[in-house]
């Protein structure tokens, strides 16, 4: 008798776990419904309480995390959970309803699997990126043509560009990275870089460039420091001012996507993010460029127009 009972319990346990494993995605939806309902509750009582989850781009996490911290200090009732995980994960999760806000370095329109019509784009900041080299390469300004030749493997030694006699080592980001997409589109005019060392973390990329003679990579402005030299393109220095005026071409929006128009805490938090208080202080402090100061804007196709 007992053995039979135990066997029965085991079978039930097995079946339950198999079901759990098989419908991992459905589970995610359930939790998101819960999250939605808490957000609705929050709206009913007070726009500044409740809890939301934000996930996605690891490049945006420090900024969004810092803003969330300040926001929660001012609104102790609100609870905002900011996770990293990558732009692709952020877009998928907000589209599936697993999180309330999905952060991404790229436009949702650029991802085929994402139904961009259902997502609402909030551009919360701009990030400028530029080529960086090992300080001993001896080259600090390139024309865009030269930059393309370096990344497509036409030029393989710094001496060809008037620098030291040092072989060029390319340090790439992974194929699917948003930073790489931005660099390819706006610095290399769509030319794919040839194979080089590939690293995902900006910190590792910076370390490799600072330690490898002749190395070149691309990094967000916030990662620039004395261990590497940043490069000008066609004489234009990689600075926030030059990005704002549209003179320096390599930059991307930091997108916060919501599924449908934001409500309650979501809306309040995004408004706070766009307030002058945050855009003029925390955003530049964290190494980003305030989106409110941009004199040019860009659409998903990369077309640039002056801001009216």
């Amino acid at each position: 008798m007992e053995l039979k009972k135990q066997a029965l319990i085991m079978v039930v346990a097995v079946v339950m776990l198999a079901v759990l494993a098989a419908c991992g995605e459905d589970n995610g939806e359930e939790t998101s419904e819960e999250a939605d309902s808490t957000a609705d509750d929050a709206e009913a009582s007070d726009g500044e309480s409740g809890s939301i989850t934000i996930a996605g781009s690891s490049a945006m996490q420090p900024l969004v995390g810092a803003v969330a911290e300040v926001y929660q200090e001012e609104n102790p009732e609100a609870s905002i959970d900011v996770q990293a995980g990558g732009s692709g994960a952020g877009l998928s999760q907000v589209a599936d309803g697993q999180v309330d806000i999905g952060n991404s370095d790229i436009f949702a329109e650029e991802e085929d699997e994402i139904n961009a019509d259902e997502l609402v784009d909030h551009r919360v900041a701009v990030v400028g990126m530029g080529p960086v080299v090992h300080p001993d390469a001896g080259v600090e300004d390139l024309t865009q043509e030269e930059l393309i030749d370096v990344w497509t493997g036409e030029i393989t030694n710094w001496s060809e560009l008037g620098g030291e006699d040092q072989e060029i080592t390319l340090v790439n980001r992974p194929d699917s990275s948003g930073t790489r997409t931005t660099f390819v589109d706006f610095a290399l005019e769509g030319e794919e870089p040839v194979e080089g060392i590939t690293e995902d973390s900006s910190n590792t990329v910076r370390q490799i460039v600072s330690e490898t003679p002749g190395a070149i990579a691309y990094l967000a402005f916030s990662y620039f420091d004395d261990s590497i030299s940043s490069m000008s393109i066609d004489g234009v220095e990689p600075t926030a001012e030059n990005v704002q005026t549209g003179d320096f071409p390599i930059w991307a929006y930091q997108h916060s996507y919501t599924s449908g128009e934001p409500e309650g805490l979501e809306a309040d938090f995004l408004d706070y993010m766009m307030s002058d208080e945050i855009q003029d202080t925390l955003v530049p402090e964290q190494g980003y460029i305030p989106v409110t100061q941009m004199e040019v804007e860009r659409d998903a196709e990369g077309e640039e127009t002056p801001v009216e």
């Binding site: 007992e2 135990q6 319990i9 085991m10 346990a13 097995v14 776990l17 198999a18 759990l20 494993a21 098989a22 991992g24 690891s58 990293a84 995980g85 990558g86 732009s87 692709g88 994960a89 877009l91 998928s92 599936d96 991802e111 085929d112 699997e113 994402i114 080592t169 992974p174 194929d175 699917s176 990275s177 948003g178 997409t181 794919e192 194979e195 080089g196 060392i197 590939t198 690293e199 995902d200 590792t204 370390q207 490799i208 330690e211 490898t212």
Partner: protein, 307 residues
């Protein structure tokens, strides 16, 4: 039955018996549940990974021939291609070469610990090896990046980011596993083997080489295979020193990539359900299949040992 007992005593005995029986049953329940949960977790991971891993072929319509036999990997391009041979080769090369390096080192250290200097070995070497096991892989990667890569670049050649750097890092990482398991295998040998050999007039070296090593071979191979299982799953440390270049390496000094590094580099950037995401799951499925094969090899050796 003992009818001459008083009623109260009978009740006490009965309840003690009952509680014993109860605790027996509870204990059984706990261990049965634990065992079954382990089996279920393994099955769930296998089912999930198989299902996700095969989507590349039946949903994203990637040709398995292209996937396994082509070195052309460009999932983000306008004309995406999904040849994963470079990464499969990279993973196998790192695993096999480091196993070849570590097997003699690990088994040699184990012989030293168990046969040559057992007391010293246990007192000094055992803790040293345990410390090596406990160091997180990111530390190995970081040391590899800051010490090993510049060393290779300056002393041997190339950019330093290479198959060679990752083999060295992985070898250090799996050395303690192989050593500890080899020492266990040698310790398990009956002492009668040693004394009989000495009684026949064999020297210590002859005893080790002709008697102990052959007797321990299944256990030693198990040690090496479990070391390989650890090597093939390692991602972080390798990612920092291998260069992650999507090209077949022409020599030990060329950078290349492994299945694990491609998964960790790209997983966060891709959206779920895209072909690019599916191929990463397929790489995960291949890794699972390889670890199944390695475990089956261990089971096979274990079965031989019992005979």
């Amino acid at each position: 039955m003992q009818t001459n007992l008083r009623a109260s005593e009978r009740i006490v005995r009965k309840s003690r018996k009952l509680s014993l029986k109860n605790s027996e049953r509870n204990g059984k329940m706990i261990v049965y549940t634990a065992a079954f949960l382990t089996v279920v977790a393994t099955l769930a991971v296998t089912i999930f990974l198989t299902q996700r891993g095969l989507q590349s072929f039946y949903i994203s319509d990637i040709s398995p021939l292209e996937f396994f036999a082509s070195t052309n990997w460009d999932p983000a391009g306008d004309n995406p291609t999904y040849g994963a041979l470079v990464f499969i080769f990279g993973s196998l090369a790192v695993t096999l070469v480091s196993a070849i390096i570590v097997a003699p080192l690990g088994i040699g250290t184990a012989i030293f610990m168990t046969e040559i200097a057992p007391s010293w070995g246990k007192r000094v070497l055992q803790p040293v090896i345990e410390i090596l096991v406990g160091i997180p892989s990111v530390i190995y990667g970081y040391i590899g990046l800051t010490v090993l890569v510049p060393f290779i670049r300056e002393q041997v050649g190339g950019s330093g980011y290479s198959l060679m750097a990752s083999i060295v890092v992985v070898s250090v990482m799996i050395l303690p596993t192989v050593t500890t398991l080899s020492a266990d295998a040698l310790n398990r040998l009956p002492d009668g083997l040693r004394s009989s050999s000495y009684a026949l007039g064999a020297t210590r070296w002859q005893t080790i080489r002709r008697v102990l090593l052959p007797a321990a071979i299944p256990g030693l191979l198990t040690a090496v295979i479990l070391g390989m299982a650890r090597a093939i799953g390692e991602a972080l440390a390798i990612q920092m020193v291998i260069g992650n270049t999507e090209l077949l390496p022409g020599s030990l000094l060329d950078p290349t990539a492994t299945m694990t590094t491609i998964i960790t580099l790209n997983m966060g950037h891709t959206t779920f359900g895209s072909a690019e995401n599916n191929v990463l799951w397929t790489l995960g499925l291949i890794l699972l299949a390889i670890s199944y094969l390695l475990v089956m090899a261990v089971r096979f050796l274990g079965a031989r040992r019992k005979m």
